[in-house]
Each structure stands twice: as C-alpha cells, then as structure tokens.
C-alpha cells in the first residue's frame, strides 16, 4: 500500500489561490475520490492556510493522475489557467514523507503561526468527515490516530504552544502577572477599532467583573459595548473611569496623549494605591510615557508588547527542533506498522507454501511404508519442526524490518527466493 499526498499551502500558494481551492464541505469530494478504483482511502484537509488530499492506494501512478485531475478540474473548474497556476503551488509527497508531513501539520509545526491550536481541531474535523463518508479505512485511520497522539505528545513534551504571540494575548498574560485573577477586575477600553475589539475578545474570555468602552464617537462605543456586554462612555468621563479601572487599554487616534501622568496620579490617589495595568497600542501613543514612573502604574506600549511577542515567537521556534524529533520518532513507528502490514500476505503465503510442500512430500514418502499412528504422529511433528525452524529466521526478519524501503526489498526477495508468485501447480513438481 502506498501513501500519496497532494496539496497547496501558505508556503507554496498566496491567499487568493488558496481561497479558490478551498472546500467548505469535503464529503462530496471524498465520495468521488474513493468511488474510482485508483484510490482506496482518502482524507481531505481544507483550511484557510492549506488544501491537502492524502490517499492510500495500490496504484500510485493512477492515483497521482486522479488527484492532479481532482485539483485541476474538480476543485476550481471555473479557472482558465488552473493547470499553470497549480504548477508552482502544488506539492506531492509519498509514503514516509506524506506521513511525516501529516504529523507536522497536526502538531502545528507547519503552521503559519507555529504552535497555534486551531489546526489540530481542523485535522480532526477532516478525519471525522472522511470517516463518516466511508472514505477512511484502516490505514488512514491508524495514521490519523497516530497524528493526534503525536500532536498531544508535542504539546505535552515541548513548549511550542505555551507562549502567546498575538499582541492581545500577550497583554492578557501580562495582566495576569500583575493580578492574581481577572475575574474581579474592571477594564477600561479607550477606542472602538479592530485592535480594541481583538483585545476585548481576549479579555472577556478571561472573565472580567466589568468592562467599559470609551470613545470619541459614543455610537461606535455603544455598538462594541453591546456586543460584549460592556457599558459605553464618552472621553470626558475618562478621569472617573480610570480611577475605577484595574486594566486600561487604549487605541484611539489623535496626536496628543489622552491620559497623562497627572491623570494617573490622581486616579491612584483615589484607588488607595491599587495598581493599574495600562496597555497603549495607539500610534501615536495615547498615554504619556512618564506615567510608567508612577509606582502603581505598569505601562506597556505597542513596541513593548511586540518585543514580548517576538521573544515568545523565537522561543516557539526553538521548540520546533524538539517537536521535529518527536514527529520523526512517531513517523518511524508508523512506518514500522505499515511495513509489517505489507509483510502479512507474504508471510502467510510462505507459511502456506512450506506446509503444502511438507504435507505433499510426507504423503509421497510414506505412501509405501506402513506406520502406526504413534510413529506417523512423530514423523509429522519432526517435519513440522524442521519447517518451522527453517522458516523462523526469514519470518522474524520480515516481521521485524522497520525501514520501509529495506522492508519492501526483503519482501520482494522472499517472494522471488521462495517462488511465491509462481503458479500453485508448481508445488506438485518440487
């Protein structure tokens, strides 16, 4: 059995190309793929960063042509130059390389943002869809189960996903270094743009006691506040809001800081020295940098947050090496299983052939001799033992071979040496 993977990803194709080949529902495509004789099992993975089809086949060349045609004609039938645009974008991986790639994808080592957790869920969805549509058989089922186990190992044994790398997540984690829990804290968000929305999402996920949104245009603040269960305010209320807030996040237009050191000093006085974590992601900055010199104010601007995010991304990249080692180990284990699976028909044929020869030669040899039951049983046992001992070493070697290439070469050698592919009537002539 061969494994073949064809696909395009963020590494080989721009977004506009990936968009054209993306699949909303892979089930009809899966049904078509396994309907023909070329492909026995198939899984289709379609995310915003990749479209990949992994198949198990006995007819490698036919399956390759079928998959190529699937991408060129079925996934984007309206495109006039689809074959040409796919030439540089489509990659093809076989057997061990396909297994390794699938494991790397599940572990998020191949992701645009290394360590992001969504990809594992998407791979699981792809597997479930294939399984539900009957396109996933024993080989790919085993492969995906191993991929999920590998992803779990990578998550547990490395720090690949430990550190946040988005500005919003970094801000939330820094807040958790100041406050034990955000559950009883009050947050103030100044502005109503996309960055504020992202940060608000991350903060709300951690659960806050109250969120207030202040903006120049109260209507926009109200729209955002309504979506997240917050209250909306105008900028004129900032001094009072600041005194009541533990976390302050600003991202609003304007050339002058809207929150000064003096405003923070006054707020701290009212808060009886309770600290304020201020995150200023506005450009130009919305908070006077001197506010960080106040004892109870911890001020981080966009550069500071990006610095932490960069350091975290670097830390994640360092973890890739450890993740790759786990992937390689698991891939070799799967390859061993696949190799052993390929050896089963050969082993069975070899044992059957040896038994047929033994039985027929024994019958021929003993035809003119009269033996009692006990003597006959003893001769039977002795011949079985001879055959068993002769076959023990080659069978053990065939079962144990972990390397796929070497294993296949040995299987072919065994079939040739023992004449397993010859006509069965040869048995009578030996």
């Amino acid at each position: 059995m061969n494994l073949l993977l064809l696909g395009l990803s963020h590494r080989t194709a721009p977004l506009e190309l990936r968009e054209r080949y993306a699949l909303d529902d892979p089930q009809p495509a899966l049904a078509k793929l396994v309907h023909g004789p070329e492909i026995e099992e198939a899984v289709v993975l379609s995310t915003c960063n990749r479209v990949e089809v992994l198949v198990a086949t006995r007819e490698l060349e036919a399956a390759r042509l079928r998959l190529r045609s699937f991408f060129e004609r079925e996934l984007a039938p309206a495109e006039a130059h689809r074959a040409r645009e796919l030439d540089g974008a489509l990659y093809e991986l076989h057997d061990a390389a396909a297994v390794r790639h699938t494991f790397r994808v599940a572990c998020s080592v191949d992701s645009q943002v290394v360590g992001e957790p969504q990809i594992l869920g998407q791979v699981k969805d792809a597997y479930r869809a294939a399984f539900a549509s009957g396109a996933c058989g024993p080989i790919l089922s085993r492969l995906y189960q191993r991929a999920f186990a590998t992803a779990k190992r990578v998550r547990n044994e490395t720090k690949i996903a430990e550190r946040p790398i988005s500005v919003a997540r970094v801000a939330v984690q820094l807040a958790e270094q100041i406050f034990e829990s955000l559950a009883e804290k009050h947050a103030l968000l100044v502005g109503a743009g996309e960055m504020i929305e992202l940060a608000l999402e991350a903060l709300v996920q951690r659960g806050l006691a109250a969120v207030r949104v202040a903006n120049r245009t109260p209507a926009r603040a109200a729209a955002l506040a309504t979506r997240f269960g917050a209250s909306a305010h105008g900028l004129d209320e900032l001094p009072q809001l600041l005194a009541a807030s533990d976390v302050v996040l600003t991202c609003i237009g304007g050339h002058e800081p809207i929150l000064t050191r003096a405003t923070f000093a006054a707020a701290l006085g009212e808060r009886r020295a309770q600290p304020i974590f201020a995150i200023d992601i506005g450009v130009p900055r919305n908070i006077e940098p001197a506010a960080n010199r106040l004892e109870g104010v911890y001020l981080y601007d966009l550069d500071d947050l990006q610095g932490v995010a960069r350091a975290n991304a670097e830390e994640r990249r360092r973890e890739i090496e450890r993740a790759e080692a786990i992937v390689l180990e698991e891939q070799q284990r799967f390859d061993g299983w696949l190799g052993a699976l390929a050896a089963v028909p050969t082993i069975r044929a070899l044992v059957e052939r040896a038994e047929t020869i033994r039985a027929s030669e024994l019958e021929r040899g003993l035809s003119g001799i009269s033996l009692g039951d006990r003597e006959r049983e003893a001769v039977e046992a002795a011949t079985r033992a001879i055959v068993g001992k002769l076959l023990h070493a080659p069978l053990a070697k065939l079962r144990a071979e972990q390397d796929r290439e070497a294993g296949l070469a040995q299987l072919e050698a065994a079939r040739a040496l023992f004449g397993l592919d010859a006509a069965s009537d040869e048995v009578d002539d030996t």
Binding site: E162, R163, P164, R169, V170, Q173, L174, E176, Q177, I178, F179, E180, R272, A273, P275, N292, E295, G296, Y298, Y300, D304, G307, V308, A309, A311, N312
Partner: protein, 266 residues
C-alpha cells in the same frame, strides 16, 4: 532516632530547594510542584522528629538555638504550605526550602554532637516564648521572602523585562501572601515578646533581662517596634504593595540579626 529523622528532614528540604530552584530557573512547573511535595513530606518527618525529642534523656530544650532554628524551619514550611493552599505562590518554595534546610541541618548537627548531659532545665514560659517567637519569626520570614520576590517581579515588569509567562506568581498573589504572613507573624511575635517578658519577670524578678540576653532582647524589641510600624502602615494607612514588600524584606533582615546574629556573632 531524632537525629536520624532530623537528617532525613534536612535532606528532603535540600531536595525541595534544588527542585524549586530548577523549576524557577527552567520554568518547569512539575519541578516546582515536586518541591512542594518534598516540603510537605519533609514537614511530616520533621514533626515526628520533634515528637521523638521526648524519648531522649535528658530531653533537649527547645531554647537551644539549633533546635529553635529547626523549629522555626518547620513552622516556616508549615506556614508556606498553608499559604500555598490559598495563594498561588509556588515560587516561594525557592526561598522557603533553602532556609528550612539550614534550620533542619542546624538541628541535625547539634543532635549529632550533643554530649547527652548538662542541659539547663528551663521553665515552661521559656518554651512558650521560644515556640511563639519561632512561629512569628518563621511567618515573618515567609513575609520577607514574599516581599523579596514581589520586589524582583515588580522591577522586571516595570523595566519591561517580564516574559508573558513567568514562573513567579502574580504581584497581587505575592502581596496577599506577604500581608497574610505579616499579620499572623506579627501577632505571634508579639505574643512571643510578651511571654519572654513574663519569663524574665519570673526568673529575674524584673521586666527586662540583664547580661548576655539583654542584647538579644533589645534587638528583638527594636525589630518588634519596626514591625509594629510596618503593620500600622500596611493595614492602617493602606500603603502601596511595593513599599510593604520592601519593609517586610528589610524587617526580616533586622529580625534575623536580632534573633540569630547577636547570639552567633561575638
């Protein structure tokens, strides 16, 4: 037996200190958790070791400095474990465990070399004084450790050197640990000072001791006054967490000199 148990306790605390330091440096939470388990196991053996002191003849007195140090170590570990149940403060183990190791080691060494006779019999008030003051000392030590960690963490966050994920507890958690240990530690130290005064009154017929213990008593009173000021600022005036941490750290350094330094140094 008491000597052997003290030695095993010291070994547990040493392993806990190494695990906690490794956990903090390498940011491995499993190592930090292991440190807490080792401290808990050590504290259990330590308790049995103290119980076993009664089997020795003559029974050693807790007023002996090495045994008092060992008692303080045990109380510090128990205080840490109780605090740990309420406040996420795994990193505190990195400071508590080495101190506990030194205390238990002092006890083990002293029990190993004691000749078995000649100990002065002290009245019950002396023991009450030692136990209460040791408990107060241990808790104020924990407060000082929390304060020192607070200052280091505060400095890193202010200087933008903080990673998004730190092995240290949050500033708020460290401040809470500091406040709780300070409140209980100061109360116990006050009771320790009071029982000490009663002991001196009973044995010398005066409120304040003369001779060699006068230095210790004066320094302890100074430390108590300092802590009284710290407690008033912290709980009365609601001072900032950083200043409270600073005072706890310095206060404990002074207390260390008052209780241990003046008895050890010439």
């Amino acid at each position: 037996m008491a000597h052997a148990l003290h030695t095993v306790t010291a070994a547990c605390y040493l392993l806990a200190a190494l695990a906690a330091a490794a956990g903090l440096a390498l940011r491995v939470r499993a190592a930090q958790r292991a440190a807490v388990f080792l401290l808990a196991g050590g504290a259990l053996i330590h308790a049995v070791a103290f119980w076993q002191l009664h089997t020795l003849l003559p029974t050693p007195s807790l007023t002996e400095l090495p045994l008092a140090s060992s008692l303080m170590a045990w109380l510090a570990v128990v205080s840490f474990l109780l605090l740990h149940a309420r406040v996420r403060g795994l990193a505190l183990a990195a400071l508590v465990a080495p101190a506990a190791f030194l205390g238990a080691l002092a006890g083990a060494l002293w029990l190993g070399i004691r000749t078995g006779g000649g100990e002065e019999l002290h009245p019950i008030l002396a023991h009450v004084h030692v136990v209460l003051a040791s408990a107060g000392f241990a808790l104020l030590g924990v407060a000082g450790a929390a304060g020192a960690l607070y200052l280091a963490h505060h400095r890193a966050i202010k200087a933008k050197r903080a990673a998004a994920q730190s092995a240290l507890p949050s500033l708020e958690a460290l401040d809470r640990a500091n406040g709780a240990a300070l409140a209980l530690g100061f109360t116990l130290l006050s009771l320790g000072v009071l029982s000490g005064v009663l002991w001196v009154l009973e044995s010398q017929g005066q409120l304040w001791p003369d001779g060699v213990t006068a230095k210790h008593a004066n320094a302890t009173l100074l430390a108590w006054l300092l802590y009284a000021g710290v407690a008033v600022l912290r709980f009365g005036k609601r001072e900032s967490a950083r200043r409270a941490a600073l005072q706890s750290a310095y206060g404990f350094a002074l207390l260390l000199v008052a209780v241990v330094g003046l008895r050890v140094l010439p």
